[in-house]
Symmetry: C3
Subunit: 171 residues, 3 copies
């Protein structure tokens, strides 16, 4: 065993690629990305709950669900018009798509630039926290500009991660 | 050639990172992701076909297409109101965005946890099949709860893939 | 140092995985993906500008912004109905989500198939250029079929990248 001192060091060399669970920054990205994506996936269930609560569905075949609700709670008068609670959930979900997906994708390339671990971790933490606060501000709802400011922190975190990528640019 | 017995074994060691086409689980993810993304991209074309069939477009400059249709089929009476077939295609496309994109992203991190090949393959198979059935249920349309159940299988597959990632969590 | 001639060659061997900034094709993907994602993120700001210009917001708590505008510009008569400029920005943003996200994801798997650098670069260039032209055609707006044609080039670039992936398919 003579390569770079020891077989152990060699193994580290091989496994220490950026994209590996032996790279703590990649594990952090995987953790915060998964939590953000789970939060986003949760919006599907949340929207569905709001649809059942308000009896607001989108397609004729969903009438089967309305009849089910009516039989269970003996209510009536479900409307065809757009419901504010459902639209609020849907717009929140769309905003997640517009922000969380770019976060994960930019994050993947950002890891390739081998950022300092602490820098990376704080980008991920700020982003995740901002999305949780954004959702709370949207759904309670809190008075503006709470929603705009919470969105802005996450947005800025993504933009900030693109800087080291664009420094290595090759067009 | 003395490292780990042979040069061949060494080459395997180097190339057997999780994110490489020499890792069968990664090839499987690439295959099922590409097929799912192609299915999603197909929704753009499908929506466009529904727009041309119903003469329902979104912007004033699209009137040029309406005139083209009218000249070709001598029809008339295209309306400005939302068309149910077009909205059905658009909502299906949005549902794909909300599910297929998280599948690919969670799948990428899932591969990093080095899951058993068979486990990974079945997650991908169930997801892809569920999206095909969901689209059929949405567009024919089949009576509910066919659409909800087909969606639920794919959704569950994504959630299940986050478990090994969150076990390696680092916040 | 006897492995493959020199330590240098060895280092290259280890670092020349597909997913590393020492692979020029991956750097190119990272560059064009980041630029495309930044362009997409820009649509959030653009939509917000259009909302402030037209006083068209989506939730009741946004009334705080309307009052702010009214105090600043002494205007009035902001409406609740959908505004064409805002909807145009939102539809453009959604179209970006439907195309730019699949581009990045398919691109990641495409890199794994080790395409020729020039082939990869031209796929990325055509895609990025097509999205810029699509946005210009959508927002000025240019007469159709300018928007459709610019969209079609980017769409075709994504489809073309799936071909080498599906050749390595494993179902």
């Amino acid at each position: 065993m003579q390569y770079r001192g020891s077989g152990n060091a060699f193994s580290n060399l091989v496994s220490n690629g950026s994209y590996s669970f032996s790279n703590p920054a990649f594990v952090a990205l995987a953790s915060y990305s998964s939590m953000s994506l789970l939060k986003m996936l949760g919006m599907s269930t949340y929207t569905m709950i709001q649809r059942f609560r308000t009896g607001n569905f989108i397609t004729p075949e969903d009438n089967m669900y309305k009849q089910l609700i009516n039989r269970l709670v003996h209510s009536s008068g479900t409307t065809k018009t757009k419901n504010e609670l459902v639209e609020r959930a849907r717009n929140n979900h769309l905003n997640d798509l517009e922000n969380i997906i770019p976060f994960v994708l930019v994050g993947l390339f950002y890891i390739g630039t081998q950022p300092k671990f602490d820098n990376a971790l704080w980008h991920f933490r700020i982003f995740f926290l901002s999305r949780i606060l954004h959702t709370i501000a949207y759904q309670i709802p809190l008075p503006q500009p709470a929603r705009t400011i919470s969105w802005l922190f996450g947005y800025s975190s993504i933009i900030s991660m693109t800087i080291p990528i664009l420094r290595s640019i090759q067009i």
